[in-house]
C-alpha cells in the first residue's frame, strides 16, 4: 500500500508556507501568483486557487498580471520551494521510513504495515492530511496498491482518494497524459496521435506501441493501466545539527543562558564528533518575550515575541565546543538580547575537518580559534564599526582609488610567506594622522612659506617645492566630491626637512607627512 501526498500549485504554496511561518496569517485565502523567467520576460508560473478566481492564469506576462492589483505577485524562490519540500518530507517521515520525493511538492511513501499504527487507510490519510495542514500545506492524498497509481491519483484528483486494489485502471483512466513525467517531445507525439488520457494510452495494442515507443512506452502503458510495479527511491535526508531549548520561565540573565547553551553545544558537538565532522559556522536564534507593559499605550496588538539572531564564523572547522562557547559568550556580552529569552535554537553547519602540516622552520602562527577569541575580545573593547561604517578590528587594506589615504579594514587573516610585490620606496613618508593644519603662503600658486598651527608664531621658508600633484574624484554626488593638490616641499628649519603638504577642495592647507 502506497500513499502519495501532493501539494497543488506547490511554488505558490511554498511561498505561502513561508509567510505562514513568519506571520501566522490565514494563508490560503490570499491570492498569490508566482512569476518566473528572465527578468525582462517574467510570466506567471504558478498561482493558488484564490488568484485563479481573480482571473489570473498561468503564462500571463508580468504586465498582464499586474492588471489584477488584488493578487500578490511574487518571484519564484527555489530556496522556499526546497524548504517547503524538506518540510513535507519531514512530515512524511513521521509515517514511514520509506519516503520518496517524487517531484517538487509530491511525496510517495510506503505505508505497508501502517494500518497497525494508524488503523484503516482512511484514518491514515486523515492523519497525514491533518499533519500537512498544520505545516500550512493544502494537499491531495491518494492511496493505492502501487506507487505510480497513488502518485498520479494525488496529482489528478482533489482531496483524498482511496483506490481499492484492482480498481487502479478504472480510477486513473480519466487523467490527462500531461500529468505523466515524460519528456515534452514524447508527450507532443502522443498528443499529436490523439492520445490524450491514461485511458487512450491504456487502450492501445501493446506490441505495436512498444515497436514505436520502446520499453519506455511499455512502462508508460503499464502506468496508464494502473499496473506498474517499482521500488521507491527513498530520500536520504542529510542529518541536521540543530538543538532547541524552551525555558519554562523566560530568563533575563546571560549566565543561565550560557549554561544551557553550553549543554546544547556539547550535545551538538557530540553528534558532529560521531560523524567525524566539525563546524566553522554556528547560528543562534533566541525567541525573546517583549515586556508588554512598555507597549500598553499602543492600541494595536503587538506581537509579543521577536527573534534575536547571531552567527559565529570561524576560519577553520573545529570540534572544540569550548571555543565556540567562549565566542558565544563574548558575542552575547557585546550584543545582549535585551529582553527575556523564551527559547533557544542552535544550528551547527557541519564541515569536514582540515588538518595542516606545518613546516619545520615555519614560525608558529596563533591557533585560529585563539585568534578568533582575541579578535572578539578586541571588538568587545573597541566596538565593531567606526563612524564611516568600517570595521574597527581587522587589517587595513588600501582601496583602489586615486583618493589619498582611502582605506578599508578587512577581516584579519594572517598570510604567511607572502611578500609584497611593491618595490621598496626610496623615501619613506611618515604620514601624520590626522593631517596637521597649516598656513601656506603662495606666490603665483607656488608655496613660499609655511606656518604650523602648533607653532603659531613661527613661519618657515620653503626652499624648494615640487607640484602640484593633482587628484580629484567622487563626482557622482556632490557630497562625495573631493580634490587635492599635493606639494613636496623642503623647509629650512635647523636642518632641512622635506614634507608633503596638500590643499583640499575647501582650499585649506594640511601637512600630510614628513619624508624620512
Amino acid at each position: 500500500m502506497f500513499v502519495a501526498i501532493h501539494a497543488p500549485d506547490f511554488a505558490a504554496q511554498a511561498v505561502l508556507h513561508s509567510s505562514a511561518e513568519a506571520h501566522g496569517l490565514s494563508i490560503h485565502s490570499k491570492p498569490v501568483a508566482i512569476l518566473d523567467g528572465p527578468l525582462s520576460l517574467l510570466r506567471v508560473f504558478a498561482l493558488n486557487e484564490a488568484a485563479r478566481q481573480c482571473g489570473i492564469s498561468p503564462g500571463m506576462t508580468r504586465i498582464q498580471a499586474e492588471a489584477f492589483p488584488q493578487v500578490e505577485l511574487r518571484q519564484r524562490s527555489p530556496e522556499l520551494e526546497a524548504s517547503g519540500q524538506a518540510a513535507m518530507v519531514d512530515c512524511a517521515l513521521r509515517f514511514s521510513s520509506q519516503v520518496e520525493a517524487a517531484s517538487p511538492g509530491s511525496i510517495v511513501l510506503d505505508a505497508h504495515g501502517a494500518d497497525r499504527l494508524f488503523g484503516p487507510p482512511k484514518f491514515l490519510v486523515a492523519t497525514i492530511a491533518a499533519s500537512a495542514s498544520k505545516l500550512g500545506f493544502l494537499v491531495n492524498i491518494a492511496i493505492a496498491s502501487n506507487p505510480d497509481a497513488a502518485f498520479y491519483a494525488a496529482l489528478g484528483f482533489h482531496g483524498i482518494t482511496i483506490i481499492n486494489p484492482g480498481q487502479e485502471a478504472e480510477w486513473i483512466a480519466s487523467l490527462f497524459l500531461s500529468l505523466l513525467k515524460i519528456p515534452a517531445v514524447v508527450l507532443t507525439r502522443l498528443e499529436s496521435m490523439g492520445i490524450h488520457t491514461f485511458h487512450d494510452l491504456a487502450a492501445l495494442p501493446s506490441a505495436p506501441f512498444v515497436q514505436r515507443f520502446g520499453q519506455d512506452g511499455l512502462r508508460l502503458q503499464n502506468i496508464a493501466r494502473g499496473r506498474s510495479h517499482r521500488e521507491l527511491v527513498p530520500v536520504t535526508q542529510s542529518p541536521q545539527f540543530i538543538e532547541t531549548h524552551e525555558f519554562e520561565d523566560p530568563i533575563g540573565d546571560l549566565e543561565p543562558l550560557l549554561f544551557v547553551l553550553n549543554r546544547m553545544l556539547q550535545s551538538l558537538f557530540q553528534k558532529l564528533q560521531e560523524r567525524s565532522l566539525g563546524t566553522n559556522s554556528l547560528d543562534l536564534r533566541l525567541q525573546l518575550v517583549l515586556r508588554l507593559d512598555r507597549d500598553l499605550r499602543h492600541d494595536r496588538v503587538l506581537p509579543n515575541t521577536k527573534l534575536f539572531e547571531r552567527s559565529i564564523r570561524l576560519p577553520l572547522p573545529t570540534q572544540d565546543h569550548k571555543t565556540l562557547l567562549k565566542l558565544l559568550h563574548l558575542d552575547l556580552s557585546e550584543h545582549p538580547p535585551g529582553e527575556l529569552v523564551k527559547s533557544a535554537w542552535l544550528e551547527a553547519h557541519p564541515s569536514a575537518l582540515r588538518f595542516t602540516q606545518q613546516g619545520l622552520f615555519e614560525r608558529n602562527a596563533p591557533q585560529p580559534e585563539q585568534l578568533e577569541i582575541l579578535l572578539a575580545r578586541l571588538r568587545g573593547i573597541v566596538g565593531e564599526n567606526d563612524r564611516q561604517g568600517r570595521d574597527r578590528v581587522g587589517m587595513p587594506v588600501v582601496l583602489d582609488t586615486h583618493s589619498a589615504d582611502a582605506f578599508a579594514v578587512k577581516k584579519f587573516q594572517p598570510e604567511c610567506n607572502q611578500h609584497s610585490p611593491v618595490a621598496t620606496p626610496r623615501f619613506a613618508l611618515r604620514i601624520y594622522r590626522p593631517p596637521q593644519p597649516a598656513k601656506v603662503k603662495t606666490v603665483n600658486g607656488r608655496p613660499q612659506a609655511i606656518g604650523f598651527d602648533s607653532h603659531p608664531s613661527s613661519t618657515f621658508r620653503i626652499i624648494a617645492a615640487s607640484g602640484p600633484w593633482r587628484t580629484s574624484g567622487g563626482w557622482t554626488e556632490d557630497s562625495e566630491r573631493w580634490e587635492r593638490d599635493e606639494w613636496d616641499i623642503a623647509v629650512e628649519n635647523e636642518s632641512i626637512q622635506m614634507l608633503r603638504i596638500y590643499r583640499d577642495g575647501g582650499k585649506r592647507w594640511f601637512v600630510d607627512g614628513m619624508y624620512d
Binding site: L39, M193, P208, G473
Partner: protein, 1053 residues
Amino acid sequence: MQYAELHARSAFSFLEGASSPEDIAIGAAALGLPSIAILDRDGVYGCPRFHFEAMKQRIKALIGAEVTVANPRIKGVSREIRYALLTESQTGYRNLCRLITAYKLREKHKGEGHSSPDEIANFSQGLILLTGGVEGPLAAALDRGGLAEATSELDRLIAIFGRGNIYVELQRHFNRSEEERNQAAIELARRFHLPLVATNGVQYAKPADREILDAFTCIRHKKTMLTAGTLLAENAERFIRSQEQMCAIFADLPEAIANTLEAACRLNFTLSDLGYEFPAFPIPDGETPNSFLRKRTEEGARNRYSRNPELYEKAMRQIDRELNLIAKLNLAGYFLIVWDLIRFCSRNNILVQGRGSAANSAVCYSLSITAVDPIGMDLLFERFLSEERGEWPDIDLDLPSGDQREKVIQYVYQKYGRAGAAMTANVITYRGRSAAREMGKVLGFDAAALNKLSSLIGSFEWKGPGDSIENQFKKGGFNLRHPRIAKYLDLCQRIQDLPRHLGQHSGGMIVCQGRLDSVVPLEPASMPGRVVAQWDKTDCEALRIVKIDLLGLGMMAVLEECLDLIPEHYGHSVDLAHLPQDDSQVYEALRRADTVGWFQVESEAQRASLPRNSPRVFYDIVVQVALIRPGPIVGQMTNPYLERRQKRQPVSYPHPSLEPVLKRTLGVPLFQEQLLRMAMACANFSGGEAEELRRALGSKRSQARMREIEQKLREGMTANDISPTTQDEIVRFISSFALYGFPESHSASFALIAYASGYFKCNYLAAFTAAILNNQPMGFYSPAVLVRDAQRHGLRVRPIDILKSECRCSIEREADNVVLRLGLNYVSGLRQQTAVAIVERRRLREYRTINELKLRVPELQENEFSMLASIGALNSLNGGTHRRDALWQVARAARSVGPLLREIEEHQNNSPLAPMTIEERLVADYQGVGLTTGRHPMSYRRKELNAMNVTPAADLAGKRNGHVVRIAGNVIVKQRPGTAKGLMFISLEDETGVARAVIMPDMFDKYRVTIMRDKYLLIEGKLQNVDNVVTVRATHVAQLEISAATTQSHDFH
C-alpha cells in the same frame, strides 16, 4: 608665444575620448589656438567632421591617428603601445590609411587589431611621430628597462622615421610619475638632439567632460563607478588648454611650446587634399566621358520617348541642360559607373530600379537607372543636382533583397578590387535607450532599476521640445532632485549622439580609382567578404567620394520571381517596363482598399485612406504613397487633401503665384519638390538655393542657419508683395515639410513598384502569392493572412504534399486553372537540407510508402518526419492515408532497427488511431505551417455566430452608419500608434474578410487583458461607415473561444 595642440582624441577613439570632433574644434577655436590635431585610436573616423568644423572655425585641422602596436609583456602584464602619428603630406596620409587598413583587415573578425614596428617602417614616409604620453613607445621603453631601454627604443624610432620626423612629447597633468618620465624624456631629447614638444594629450574639450570619460572608462572595462577604482582618470586635466595655461605649465621649457607651432607649420595635409579620384570608366578611343555619356543618354532617350515626339523634344532639351551641368561638374564618370551597374543587372536578370532624387533626372531615366519619367511627370531636376550645392548626386538603387543584391555588391568589389571599394560605415551613437542603459550600469543601478529605466526611455523618440528625456523621467516618477538620479539624467543627456561603435550602412558603397585604402582606412565587416570604410555616408558625401546605395527591397525580389513564374505558368511573358498603365482592375482594387500584399499601400492606415483618395490614375498612387507619412500627417496636410479630393473643401492657394506649383495636389503641399518650387516661385530662389533651404530646415543642427535662411525667404516674399500672414503660412508649410517630407520622385518610384505589385496581384494572383510567400518576412501581413486573402480572391491553395511540393511555394495547373502549392519551406522545423533532399530524390523516383521515404531520405529527423505527418504532407503515401495513420507509421519508421528488419513491412497496417477532428487539423496546421489552406476557423462556427448576432466582415459595408454591430474574428493586426493619442486599431479576420475596430483609451484600459491576450475577439460597438471606410468603435470587447490554433497577429504598440 604661440601654441598649437598636437595631440587630442575625440569620442571617435570609441570610449577613450569624451568630446565630439566638432566640440574639439570649437573648443580650440574659442581658446584662440591656431591649430589642433586629432589623433584617434586606430582610425580617422572623426576627421571629416573635425575638418569641416575647423574650416568653419577658421583654424587648421591637423590629421593623424594613434596606431596600436603590440608590446611585449611587462611584469606579466601585456600593454598596448600607441604611436601618435601626424600626417605631414598627402603621402603621409595615404601611408597612414594603408597602415591602418593593413592591420585592421588582418583581423579575421571585426575588432581592434594592432600593427607591428616593421609594418610601421613600411608606411612611415610622410608621417611625424610624437613619442606620446603614458601609452607611447618611450614610456613603455622606460617602464621596460629605464633609460638604457629608452635609448635603444629611440635609436629604433629614428631608424624608422628619420631624426627630423620625431618629436619627444611632454605632457603635464600634475602627476608625479608622469613628471618622472618627462625628466627622462628631456634628458634623452638632449642626448639625441631631438626637439621637445608639449601637448596636453587632450581627451575632452572641457574639464567637466572628464565625467563622461570616466563613464566611458567604466563601460570599456565593464565596471561601475564604484568598482573602477584607479582605472578612472586621476584628475580632470586632459582638456583643451589655452596658450597661456600651457606656457605657464611649461615655463621651464619654452622651446617645447615653440616647437608645437613649428611642427604644426610643417603639417600641410588637410582633408581638402584627399587625392580621391573616382574610377575612370573605360571608354572607346576618341571619346571623352562626356561625349560617351551623351551618346548613351541620347540612345536611351530615343528608346524612352520616340513614341511621343513632343515629349521627346522636351526631354532632349532637359537632357541637354542636365548633361551640360554634369559636364560642368565633371560627373560624367559617375553616371557611367551607375549605368555600368544597371547593365550588369540587366545582363544577369537582376531587377533594379533607381529611387530617390535620381528619379528627377531625365538622364537617369534615359540610362534606365530610374523608371519614372521626369519629363512626363514634370519633376524638378534641382532636387537631384544643382550647381550651387557642389555635392555628389545621390543615386539609390533598389535591388531584390538577398542573393541578387549580394551579387551586385560582389560585382562592385570585383570590378574595383577589394582595396578599391567598400561599404560606408554607419556610426552608431548613444541614443535614448542605449544611453540610459549604459549610464545606469555605470552608476551601478541594479538590473530591475535598469529595466525600468530603459523601458521608460524605450518608446522615446526625439520628436519635439516637449519630448525630452527629462520629461520622460518625470513622467516615470523619478525624483530628479535626488543627486544620483540628477547626475544620471545629466550623463544621459551629455552622451547623446556621441559615437558608440561603427556599424555597416545597409547599402551604401564607395568606390575609388586605384586604392580606396589610401583615401580612408578600411575595416573588415561582420559579414564575410565585405569591407567597411571608416566614414559614414554623410562624411563621404561631404568629401565628394562617389557613393552608390545598393538597397535590398523585398518587393523587388517578389516582382523578379513573378517575372520568372508568369511565362512558365501563364504562357506569356511580361515586361515590367511596359505594364499597361491603366489596368482598371488595379484602380478598382485600390478604390476598394483591397490591397493586402501590395507594396507601400497595404498598411491599415493606407487602406483606411484609399477609398477617400479614390485613385484613378497613376499620379493618384504617387500621392497615396506620400500621403500617409509623418510629413503630411504632422503638417496636417493629409485631411485637407482628402477633403479636397472628395470635393468637400474648395481648392485654394496661399498665394496666386503658387497655383502652378500646388495645382496637382489640390493646393496642399505634399512633396519636397513643391517646397523647393514654392521658394522659387514666391521668393525668387534659384533651384540650388531652394535645395539649400530644404537642407537647412531639414537638419536640426544649426538654429542660426535656419533663422538666416528663413529671413532670406521672407525677404524674397516681401519683394514679391506677399502679405506677412501669407508669408507665415508659407513658412509653416515649408518648415513642416523640410524635416519629414517625401520627395515626389521617390514617391513616384515607389508608386511604380506599388502599381506593378498590384498589377501582378490582380492579373497573376497565383504567381504573385507564390512569390510573396517565398520572400517572407516582408510587408505588413503574415503568410496566413496573405493566403486567406488570395483564397478570397479565388485562388485555390493546395496544402503541402510530399509528392508534389517543391522547396518553395510553386504553381500547379489543375484542369484550366493555376493553383498554388505550398512549399516545404513552410514546414516548421524542417531543415533546408532535408527539404532539398526530399525534392531531389523524388525527381528520381516517386515515393510510395512512408517507410520508403525514410529509407531514401535518411536526413529526415524524427521531429521533421512527425511534423510532415501531422500537417498531412504524407497523406498521399501508402496509397492514401490520414494524418494520424501517417503519424502511426512514422513512429515506427523513425525508430532505428537493424538492417535485417529494416525493409520488413508491418503486417497489420491499420493504425488504432482515430482520424484528426477538424479542430485538431487546424491546430496542427497552424502549429506546423503557420496557416491553413482549409476553411477559416471562424467558418466552422458561423451558425453559432449568427445566433449571437455577429455580422460577417463582408456584410459590414452594407450596414448603416451609426448602427450598433457585433463583429468577431481572428486578430491579425493590433496597432497603437504614438500619434493616435492612445487609440488602438484592431483588425479582425473572418472567412469573409477583415473588419476594423477602434478601441478608445478608456475601453482599452477596461479590456486590456482580453485585448492583449486573446487571439479571437468579439467586439460590439457603433459602426462608422463613412466614405466607404468601415470601422467599429468598440463599446464592449470579449474573448471568443473558436480554436486553440496558435494564429499570429502583427502587433505595433
